[in-house]
């Protein structure tokens, strides 16, 4: 069995080579300005070569792998201080990058990529024959527990030795972080330490005080003393201990270290550092120059990158999106000024220009917004593929014959939503196979095809995407659901008689409900549909279930295509302003007392023949209730099959908003999705229509108690 040639390999390999090239250019620049190449950069170079060797070997691209291997040895020597690189050496490294490019290009087009790379590997070998390694082991001279030593990689150990040789002070910083965001904390610490020294390694400590937090021992080398270090870090939660030197031997070592070439003493290092700063302003030019020279001299075909993709951290896109949100506030202000001007001086002269330019600005801004949105979107294909894999496995193990069909996999959704969809979707697939599809014998006896079908589909609909998991299995018996719900006191027997089919199926989403008495390995681990529903709600999605006994079950999940920036309706209730996301709003209408009727102590109105329950924010948020004004408005919202009308006093207008989280403490408040800024520095709350609708659906299915 040989692994398939795939696009993943091509794009990752290309990405690695691009990074390699970039780092090499900076490294060349550093060394040509007389400085020392940043050790971290050399390590990055090594890591790039190492990764490339790893994946190319695995995916069967031997020549790339052989070349990467040679390159890796040279870079390994460099980072461990065994090889010193000169301009000639650097040229060989650049030649490798160019060769990689052409080899990857050949691999991408399926051409024979088993090219000869001996010319380059020979040149690399020559470079690798560097200075002899020095044999002294400085680690013998410091008080560092052997348990720390054993987890250091060769490179980290080398950096530790380097720091000792340079006479730097060594410290252990002990700090505890919240498990949720420790990487941010570490990144901050990294940045702080960089100004005065070097982080040699970060060891997660098993002596963690409490769960939910994690401690790290961070080994730092620095010329600063402990007071300076503590001041720079500026965080008194950090416990700093100094790693002691065994005094006498250390001096001896320092003397021995002196004659080693290319290693400056601490003092001259500082001077070099200064030189670098002075040269810094010229560096841009130098980089451009060398890049140009290189691209024109060698195989010109290889300059073009094969992979046309860029990977971007989604948080960067969030930042851009926030900016667009703020710009759109500015836009609103412009339009307002233009309106006032029109009124004051008439639609002439500058007022016309301002109006035109504001409109122009508005158009471009919405294009920009659409552009960023487009970048965030990914097709569901990858997720669906994973689901099919999992589904096949489950059916094999449960001994069901199941065909899994997929459609609409090219439908696109916000990347963040797709990621969070994996768990709930997997659960639904498991449910469909475990609870839905019968054993082949049962199916045959019922006159069905022994092989069951689970269908996974996606469909774009306006601002929403509907993902559906359906099966042609045994279906759900509504009678059984009601019996169970009554037995578990989730609904009174009287109420149970009045429930519609849809309401009955919705009972399945109430926490603690399970239609199976025996526990199955797959679906009966205390995680039920209520969790799935919760997960989906967090994505502002709504889940619906429908089933025909003996025939089929289908679960639909309706999701917004993004959570990043959305159009909203601004409304006023009892003197307060709120925003309602427009993607859930179907229509708005005027409400007069006469149109409101009461069914089962619930206010409802009739909208196009359908009865829609009213939700009055005054009551929902328990405001000091002023009377509802004579004329008020109903905002009719719908998600999936559910409808609801929100009563508001005034419709203020429409605006694009960026929803910001309220922070952990206020997160659990039902009915509030977050806060957003209107112009003029006003912050208002955003209504979570999905939560309100969900609450209503569960309420109406279950008892009032």
């Amino acid at each position: 069995m040989s692994p398939p040639v795939n696009q993943d390999f091509i794009s990752e390999a290309q990405e690695i080579v691009d990074v390699l090239n970039r780092d090499l250019i900076v490294a060349e620049n550093e060394s040509s300005t007389g400085g020392e190449i940043d050790p971290e950069r050399v390590n990055n170079l090594f890591r790039s070569a190492h990764s490339l060797k790893g994946i190319s070997g695995m995916f069967g691209f031997d020549s790339i792998s052989r070349l990467a291997h040679s390159l890796e040895s040279v870079l390994d020597g460099m980072r461990l201080g065994r090889v010193h690189i000169d301009p000639v050496g650097l040229d060989v490294l650049f030649a490798c990058v160019e060769r990689f490019n052409s080899l990857i290009a050949a691999a991408a087009t399926g051409e024979d990529c088993n090219a000869n790379v001996e010319d380059l590997t020979k040149r690399l070998e020559k470079v690798a024959r560097g200075d002899a390694a020095d044999t002294a082991d400085p680690l013998e001279f410091i008080e560092l527990g052997s348990e720390v030593r054993t987890v250091l990689t060769e490179y980290e150990e080398h950096r530790l030795k380097e720091n000792i040789k340079r006479g730097r002070n060594l410290y252990i910083l002990r700090i505890t972080f919240d498990l949720a965001n420790f990487d941010l904390g570490l990144a901050e610490l990294d940045a702080a330490v960089k100004s005065i020294g070097e982080v040699i390694t970060k060891l997660p400590s098993s002596k963690t005080a409490e769960s939910g937090s994690i401690s790290f021992d961070i080994i730092v080398g620095s010329d600063s003393n402990i007071q300076e270090l503590s001041k720079t870090l500026g965080d008194d939660r950090i416990e700093i201990t100094t790693i002691q030197r065994k005094q006498m031997v250390a001096t001896a070592l320092k003397k021995r270290a002196m004659p080693i070439p290319q290693k400056d003493t601490t003092k001259s290092d500082a001077i070099v550092e200064q030189d670098k700063n002075i040269e810094g302003s010229n560096s841009q030019l130098a980089v451009e120059g060398s890049e140009f020279a290189r691209s024109s001299q060698d195989e010109s075909a290889s300059v073009k990158s094969v992979s046309q993709t860029v990977r971007v951290d989604i948080r960067r896109l969030d930042r851009l999106m926030n900016l667009v949100g703020e710009l759109s506030l500015t836009k609103t202000a412009f339009l307002h000024i233009s309106d006032v001007m029109k009124q004051q001086i008439g639609f002439v002269g500058l007022a016309v220009d301002l109006h035109k330019e504001s409109r122009n600005f508005e158009r471009r801004l919405s294009e920009l917004q659409a552009g960023i949105m487009e970048v965030r979107m990914v097709p569901l294909a990858n997720l669906f593929e994973r689901m099919v894999r999992v589904g096949r496995k489950i059916s094999r193990e449960l001994k069901r014959q199941v065909r899994i069909e997929v459609s609409g996999e090219h439908t696109e959704l916000d990347k963040l939503i797709v990621e969070d969809l994996a768990d709930p979707l997997m659960h639904l697939i498991r449910n469909a196979i475990d609870h839905g599809i019968e054993t082949p014998e049962v199916r045959a006896a019922a006159g069905k095809d022994p092989e069951g079908t689970v269908r996974l589909s996606a469909l774009a609909q306006g601002n929403h995407v509907i993902v559906e998991v359906s099966d042609d299995g045994g279906g759900i018996d509504p009678e059984k659901v009601i019996k169970m719900a009554v037995a578990k006191k989730l609904v009174t027997p009287e109420r149970a008689k009045e429930l519609t089919r849809r309401e009955i199926f919705n009972l399945l989403f109430i926490a603690g409900f399970s239609t199976r008495s025996e526990v199955s390995e797959y679906s009966g681990r205390g995680v039920g549909l209520d969790i799935v529903k919760n997960n989906i709600s967090q994505l502002s999605g709504v889940i619906d279930i429908f089933s025909v006994k003996g025939k089929s079950t289908s679960i639909t999940v309706t999701l917004p295509i993004t959570l990043a920036i959305i159009p909203a309706l601004v409304v006023a209730v009892a003197g307060r302003t709120y925003a309602i996301p427009l993607n859930n709003v179907l229509e708005t209408l005027a409400i007069e007392d006469t149109t409101v009727s009461t069914i089962e102590r619930r206010e409802v109105i009739s909208v196009r023949g359908a009865t829609v329950p009213l939700v009055d924010l005054r009551h929902h948020f328990r405001m000091e209730t002023k009377e509802r004004p004579e004329v008020c408005y109903g905002v009719v919202a719908g998600v999936g099959q559910h409808r609801m009308a929100l009563v508001v006093d005034e419709l203020v207008g429409q605006q694009d908003i960026v929803i910001k989280s309220l922070g952990r403490r206020l997160q659990h408040i039902k009915g509030i999705a977050g806060a957003t800024e209107l112009g003029n520095q006003k912050t208002i709350l955003v209504i979570d229509m999905v939560a309100l609708i969900n609450e209503l659906a569960v309420d109406s299915a279950a008892t009032e108690a």
Partner: protein, 124 residues
């Protein structure tokens, strides 16, 4: 369902390892891209096996391994290191730190599968 944690920074390699482990009956793969993610994932689920690379950004595989071996919750969890042959020294360290097996990249898919089967078998 036994869960297997795969810690590997190359997404192509991670995908490959996951697809091989996936072929083993009755186990499910959880993929993470580095040591930090692994530290976060560990308390969330009970893993029957952890497969990790050594050379990774943030914390390296040895540090992760040492953390796993010292923490009473995971002391018994088998760990399989999948790393490159150039790190011969790292291999020795890994085994000394308590890794249960070591596979060299590039590996033969069936070898990995066999190692996974063996380690899962000894887990319970």
């Amino acid at each position: 369902m036994r869960k297997v944690l795969v810690v590997e920074d190359s997404s192509a390699m991670r995908g490959l390892i996951a697809s091989i482990v996936d072929q083993v009956d009755d186990c499910e793969v959880v993929e993470v891209a580095g040591g930090f993610d692994a530290l976060r994932q560990l308390p969330r689920e009970r893993f029957a096996l952890i497969i990790t690379d050594i050379n990774m950004p943030d914390i390296n595989g040895l540090e992760l391994l040492s953390f796993i071996r010292k923490n009473p919750n995971y002391t018994q969890t088998p760990v399989l290191i999948v790393s490159t042959e150039s790190s011969e020294r790292d291999r020795a360290k890994g085994l000394a730190l308590g890794a249960n097996a070591y596979i060299t990249k590039p590996f033969i898919p069936d070898d990995l599968k066999a190692a996974v089967l063996r380690l899962l078998g000894s887990a319970t």
